[in-house]
């Protein structure tokens, strides 16, 4: 297993004592596409970021096991983490506008990410950057390589981010709402692109999203989180057979084109979902 998480808890200090944001999460990821779905505050991003030790400094993390490719993340030094972050496990975030360096061209950023993990010349890195831009289906790699982030559209910026993350040839990609800031037409293209890259390179992918239908179309397996806990794990094809009332409620309250409802179903939150006694 590329990723093993057992009984993970993440707490933050608050005036009323530690507040648990993630409570006893266990999951594994192999060479597959795993989706983590939940509403804001469900702990989905914290769970994934704990793998890279990218949590706010005040976060208190406990787990029976938190491992990436057999490496114990809880015991890993900063130096060890630097050899994992970016190189072996990449992170793609929601908005390329805030993740790209505004004063470097797209090509320079991809080349930098390439050279950081390999000993090559600047020219070779530039060649590699152009090749990566072509791989993320940019029609005119040379032009985009010389463009600054503000000159790129949202979809183009996200392709550049993906090219950058792919440069060190990572084994795991964590994508945190990678398409939420994009138009539906662009979203579909970016997801197809990620799917293609992941399957061609035999990578593991963790896709974090609030969009349950989207994730279940794209991933092999889906983990549904609520209030810091995993309430249900599904084979993506089995979404229609979801059993947990929270998962079913999330699906029912979505307006759709195919099934008009005069009044939308709302979600009645059962306190029992908080502690898993249902």
């Amino acid at each position: 297993m590329k990723v093993e998480i057992a009984n993970l808890s993440i707490a933050f200090p608050s005036p009323r004592g530690p507040s648990l944001a993630v409570r006893g999460v266990s999951l594994t990821v192999g060479s597959e596409k795993l989706g983590i779905v939940g509403e804001s505050g469900s702990g989905k991003s914290l769970t994934a970021r704990s793998l890279l030790k990218l949590l706010p400094p005040e976060a208190r993390v406990r787990a029976d096991r938190l491992a990436f490719d057999g490496i114990d993340i809880l015991q890993a030094t900063e130096r060890q983490m630097r050899s994992i972050r970016g190189k072996r496990a990449g992170l793609i975030m929601q908005d390329p506008k805030f993740s790209l360096n505004p004063v470097m061209t797209a090509g320079e950023q991809i080349a930098e990410s390439w050279r950081l993990h390999r000993k090559t010349s600047k020219r070779e890195a530039r060649e590699a950057a152009l090749d990566l831009l072509a791989q993320v289906q940019i029609r005119d790699p040379a032009r985009v390589a010389d463009a600054y982030p503000h000159e790129l559209s949202g979809g183009m910026g996200q392709r550049v981010m993906i090219a950058m993350m792919m440069a060190p040839d990572p084994e795991l990609l964590i994508a945190d709402e990678p398409t939420s800031a994009l138009d539906a037409t662009v979203q579909a293209e970016i997801l197809r692109l990620m799917e293609d890259l992941v399957s061609r390179r035999g990578m593991s992918l963790i896709l974090i999203s609030h969009d349950l239908p989207l994730v279940s179309h794209f991933c092999d397996r889906v983990v549904v989180m609520y209030a810091g806990r995993v309430v249900e794990e599904l084979n993506a094809a089995g979404l229609a057979r979801a059993e947990h009332p929270y998962t079913r409620g999330l699906l029912a309250c979505l307006p759709t084109l195919s099934h008009p409802q005069a009044r939308l179903t709302t979600l009645t939150r059962d306190p029992a979902w908080m502690d898993g006694s249902n």
């Binding site: 804001s40 949202g154 539906a184 229609a240 979505l254 307006p255 084109l257 008009p260 979600l267």
Partner: protein, 251 residues
């Protein structure tokens, strides 16, 4: 276009930003008590149309009419009594250092309407917020509660028209359902007229019986929600957006 029976008429609206034409001759008319939807992708000009209607951009040509009267470039105070706007991000549209009480009192003060002490509890009631919210600050509320405050603030001067710019796209889907139900209820109770802009076809079709589809600054198709649901589209862009939306609905 005949404006006599329509509450809002937009006729050949053109909006330029420098050399870029963001809206190129958009026309539509909305009858009183109905909801009109505008869908499109980013950069299609949908929000630009809404902002011009709200008087937030004075740089336009063409005609815009409210109740048969041509709207001046600079809106009057009377206009804002009749037309109010709700924005996408309730956090960005509420002053972080002002209590909810102050936020709700502001439109009353601006319009010279008294009786805030009675109006504010009533406004909170109408959007199903507890009275305890009144003296809290925006950061102490959830996203859904904040959007309810934004709706309460827009409605407190009893306008006839609400301009809704992606009112639920920053919210979780469970909260989105509650806010959409609230908007339906309020429309029915007060005979409100809505113009709603969104990138989400299913959300727009839920609230709006008539929908304009925009692309590149133009309305490429106007169709009923029913026709959109049934797939009776005429423009390829509408068909593409519809396909992307329905594709995800099949389990």
């Amino acid at each position: 276009m005949d404006g006599r029976f329509q509450l809002i008429v937009v006729d050949n609206l053109v909006i330029r930003f420098g050399r870029v034409e963001a809206v190129s001759g958009v026309s539509f008319a909305v009858a009183r008590g109905t909801a009109w939807g505008i869908v499109g992708e980013s950069g299609s000009g949908k929000s630009t149309v809404l902002r011009a209607l709200a008087g937030l951009n004075e740089n336009w040509s063409g005609r815009m009419l409210l109740d048969g009267e041509e709207l001046p470039r600079r809106r009057t105070r009377a206009f804002f009594r009749r037309v109010q706007m709700v924005f996408q991000d309730p956090y960005g549209s509420l002053h972080p250092r002002q209590t909810i009480d102050r936020a709700l009192a502001e439109p009353l003060v601006a319009q010279g309407i008294g009786g805030a002490d009675a109006a504010i509890p009533r406004a909170l009631d109408e959007v199903a917020l507890p009275q305890a919210v009144r003296f809290r600050y925006p950061h102490q509320l959830s996203g859904g509660q904040r959007q309810r405050v934004a709706i309460a603030r827009a409605l407190i001067t009893s306008p006839e028209v609400l301009l809704l710019d992606e009112p639920t796209s920053a919210l979780d889907v469970s909260v989105q359902a509650e806010v959409l139900n609230l908007l339906s209820d309020l429309q029915r109770e007060r005979n409100l007229t809505y113009i709603m802009v969104s990138h989400n076809l299913a959300v727009v079709a839920h609230l709006c019986p008539m929908i304009a589809v925009m692309q590149g600054g133009r309305v490429v198709e106007t169709l009923s929600a029913e026709a959109l649901r049934a797939g009776r589209t005429t423009h390829p862009h509408t068909a593409e957006l519809r396909a992307l939306s329905t594709e995800l609905e099949e389990p």
